[in-house]
């Protein structure tokens, strides 16, 4: 059943609109990510869930009851703040205990719970230090411990991975996965980077410009974006402006010609868009669907610009006319030796029309 529900929520900061008509649900034990660029209203949504801010209109419900119903000791939401917000004048132990002391839990229970979470997060020998004697990663873990020790139903994590190096990030992601099994709480994760949440989240809401654009599991967002923003932000797709030439009346095949370069390609109208001949559209093709050797029925000539190697993948950047760029990811170990191009070289790119689809501009 759904644990959190946003119903047509608007939020204004003074006269500035921060959120517009937000509606979504989060189920119990989910890892739900709010993904979007900085300043799109993600953190405000967390404040609404924790009841620190009230929606200007609409409702935020937890277990079917308005969040303002949960007050003081009944609160079941805890946040790991982006600024960590540790109490700087208290020791690590006092920081972790804080929520339990407020809830007037017995001393023996407090000690037991603090000990448990501290050992899970590797903080046992840091308990009597002051918070500013810790490294960034340790502070992050203290913030996590302080939130989890009260056994919240919902844990809100505001940009938990920023400022951590790759090793710490992976460690924290693994810890979060384990902790969810131990504590069984629902995570709401806020991030501006897809990589940070892609492996962890069960569902992602992509937010841009005060609104939710699309909600779905990571795969569906990656493979079937419904807007150009999601295609670019989540799928890292190549977007090429195109004109509809011929809409096949049967089936979903559409012939388009690109506005830049000279290509006449087929694409699948996967989203069942309302398309007419001579409409403008955006032709979407994934970086990992493009090949550099002749396969597939679509072809495009482009200028080689640069390449980079990322583990098993080699990423090529090609330039089209009018400043458009195409990214190509080739995922074989051979590609390190194969495909050596000089800057400025004209190269043919190939792909299968069934991998491409169309979006409205």
């Amino acid at each position: 059943m759904e644990l959190i529900e946003f119903r047509n929520v608007d939020f204004y900061w003074g006269k500035v609109k921060i959120l517009e008509n937000i509606s979504f649900q989060v189920n119990e034990s989910e890892v739900f990510a709010l993904l979007g660029p900085s300043g799109c209203g993600k953190s405000t949504m967390l404040r609404l869930i924790s009841g620190l801010s009230r929606p200007s209109s609409g409702e935020v419900l937890i277990n079917g009851k308005d969040v303002s119903f949960y007050k003081g000791r009944d609160r079941c939401v805890a946040t790991v703040w982006q600024s960590k917000a540790l109490f700087p004048h208290l020791s690590v132990r006092a920081n972790i205990e804080f929520g339990l002391r407020i809830k007037r839990i017995k001393n023996s229970d407090i000690n037991k719970r603090v000990k448990k979470i501290a050992s899970t997060l590797g903080l046992e020998d840091k308990l009597d230090r002051s918070t500013f004697q810790l490294s960034g990663g340790e502070q992050q873990r203290v913030a996590l411990a302080r939130a989890l020790v009260i056994h919240p139903k919902i844990l809100l994590l505001d940009e938990p991975f920023t400022g951590l190096d790759q090793t710490l990030k992976l460690q924290l992601q693994a810890d979060l996965r384990d902790l969810q099994e131990d504590y069984g709480c629902t995570y709401i994760l806020v991030s501006h980077l897809l990589e940070d949440v892609f492996s962890l989240a069960t569902r992602i809401a992509v937010i841009q410009n005060k609104k939710i654009l699309q909600v779905g599991d990571p795969n569906s967002l990656y493979h079937s974006p419904r807007s150009t923003f999601v295609a670019r932000f989540v799928g890292k797709k190549n977007l090429i402006p195109a004109i509809i030439r011929n809409v096949a009346r049967q089936g979903r095949e559409v012939i388009v010609s690109s506005i830049i370069g000279e290509g006449n390609w087929k694409a699948i109208n996967r989203l069942n868009l309302e398309l007419n001949d001579n409409d403008r559209a955006v032709y979407v093709i994934g970086a990992d669907s493009i090949e550099l050797n002749p396969t597939g029925d679509c072809i495009l000539e482009a200028t080689f610009r640069a390449q980079e190697i990322d583990g098993q993948r080699k990423i090529f950047y090609f330039r089209l006319e009018r400043g458009y760029e195409v990214r190509v990811e080739i995922c074989t170990t051979d590609s390190i030796r194969l495909y050596q191009y000089v800057r400025g070289e004209r190269v043919n790119l190939y792909w299968k029309s069934e991998d491409a689809f169309l979006l409205k501009e």
Binding site: S83, K84, F87, P88, H89, F98, G99
Partner: protein
């Protein structure tokens, strides 16, 4: 070479700053009435005289009471107003702080004169109470400014974190805000105590026969020029320096803030 130059220069500045004070301390131990050559010898007689001067004790006690009361009340006023101002929109807060600081930065001679007229009008002129009120008016904005700047440094997420963990507003104020700012609070109290304790001009206008210690000492200088003043001065200067060092230490280290 550069280093030696810097050391010499700094030593010179330190010497310059402390020479008047040192002269006073040395003279307070002088055997004769005036320092002369050859050195007349060492003595504690001026300290003894000070310990027997009950009128001087009374003025010191009066200054102590006024100073402590002014320190406490001004700091409470300053803490409250500093907190309120810090939560206003940035520019409004700073402007209002400037507004309440204005009376404190007009020349003390003018302020003393005006306040004496006002005190006479409401019938408290020449009382210790009027010294107390005048000092609160002049010094509480300083406390407000000190506290204001400390409050502005606080990360507001920290209060929200406590609120979310279930803390009541009263607990947040005392445990979280108070916990982070008590050093500034105490430092402000000490600074204002020392300032009030040493303040002469306003006190001269309003204290009348209930002389505070600086007024008494000034009168003493006019009448007798007794070296006893050097003894009193040395003791008071020592205490002031001690207290100010404490205040500066607390202010330099306001709750051990570090970016986290």
């Amino acid at each position: 070479m550069k280093r030696i130059g810097a050391i010499i220069f700094l030593s010179f500045v330190i010497l310059l700053v402390f020479i008047p004070l040192l002269t006073m301390v040395v003279l307070s131990f002088c055997k004769g009435r005036f320092a002369s050559f050859p050195w007349p010898g060492w003595s504690l007689q001026w300290y003894q005289q000070f310990f027997e001067n009950s009128i001087l004790h009374l003025s010191l006690l009066r200054s102590l009471i006024v100073g402590v009361a002014v320190g406490v009340i001004s700091t409470l006023l300053g803490f409250g107003s500093g907190y309120a101002l810090s939560r206003l929109p940035s520019r409004t807060g700073s402007s209002l702080l400037m507004l309440i600081t204005l009376p404190a930065i007009i020349p003390f001679v003018l302020f003393g004169f005006c306040f004496a007229e006002f005190a006479g009008y409401i019938g408290i002129l020449r009382t210790t109470i009027s010294v107390f009120i005048a000092h609160v008016v002049v010094f509480s904005p300083l406390s407000a400014a000190l506290c204001f700047h400390r409050f502005r440094q606080l990360n507001l997420d920290i209060e929200d974190a406590a609120r979310e963990l279930g803390a009541s507003e009263i607990k947040i104020f005392f445990m979280i805000i108070g916990g982070q700012t008590w050093r500034t609070l105490i430092a402000s109290g000490i600074v204002i105590f020392v300032l009030s304790w040493d303040e002469y001009i306003i006190s001269w206008f309003v204290s009348g026969f209930n002389k505070t210690y600086p007024v008494y000492v000034r009168n003493m200088l006019e009448s007798t020029m007794s070296p006893e003043i050097n003894a009193v001065g040395s003791i008071v200067a020592f205490l002031s320096l001690l207290l100010m060092s404490m205040a500066l230490y607390l202010l330099r280290n306001p709750g051990k803030i570090k970016e986290i």
